[in-house]
Symmetry: C2
Subunit: 169 residues, 2 copies
Amino acid sequence: MHDSAEEMPTALDPLEQQMVAFFVDGVRVIGLPPSIGQIYGLLFISRQPLALDDLVKRLEMSKGSVSQGLRTLKTLGAVREVTATDAADRKTYYEPAVELKRLVGGFIREQILPHLLSGTEKAESIRSLAANHPDQEQRTFLINRISRLDKWMRSGRRMLPIIQRILGE
Amino acid sequence: MHDSAEEMPTALDPLEQQMVAFFVDGVRVIGLPPSIGQIYGLLFISRQPLALDDLVKRLEMSKGSVSQGLRTLKTLGAVREVTATDAADRKTYYEPAVELKRLVGGFIREQILPHLLSGTEKAESIRSLAANHPDQEQRTFLINRISRLDKWMRSGRRMLPIIQRILGE
DNA sequence: AAGTTTGTTCAAAAAAGTTTGAACAAGCGG
DNA sequence: CCGCTTGTTCAAACTTTTTTGAACAAACTT
């Protein structure tokens, strides 16, 4: 296919750059790689949904990174797929989820909850190790400490729905 | 000085290993290096406070790592220094802070709040960039999106004290 | 004052994480 | 069927973070 009527500018303008940088910093806080911040940042400041190919060109990033980044963002519920209005266009376009509730919800579901659940299990397994300790005093101390872990996990789980409710506005 | 009467065992027993592994995983979630999890984990399961030197020996970790790890843990308020009961002993001993409130409070203060504050500033600076955009419609869109960032930061700041209150029991 | 203990610093080595790009898969259109 | 478009996968290259260990500092002991 030849050049389309509309040519996409290649470099990011200063506003876009700043927004991308903002989200690169942002996602780092939650332990995600820069590429994901770049992708989400550009989607966030773009009026129309963008396809993988657009992101590759405008961010000067490899197809592989964009593909993987989009997958992570989808899993987190941080982007939505939209299909082109033009039926001949087979590309999948993406737009950002911009509701804090949704973003935090995805993060909690994917990154926090699994850890709280597996943490509870691990604490239980550690507790059973401690139960065998020969010295009575030491055993009491150990079980006491380990119970604390369990309390932490419980507090965490109690807190999640509250956080989500507050962010629901 | 010659060998003391009490010889510290060198390797971790299975319980200690599990506890250390538990916290290595735990601190990873909040973006801290494994060494810090190891240190906190061993302190957490130890009945008596431990000195830098004890941690080096028992964790088979370099003095440098333990020194830096303890500094971070102090900054986070996750460990407390205690001075030896024996006045001749010049070492500083450490015990873990085990109150969830305190741990989360330190994390929020050191890792979350700074980002929320600088994020608010950056959003403001991006907003002023957008205010110059020539196209009226596009400008409106941009300012709208950017305002959302500000709302996110605000929601975050509102949430922190609530989290802390809930964890206070 | 010289040696010992306790702890910090920081450059370099090692480990872990991220990105790239070439190869591959799947579907469409002629 | 063949070529083109769209997207995924994954080993290797690259980047960043973490850890190490040797050098240094401070403070005590003899």
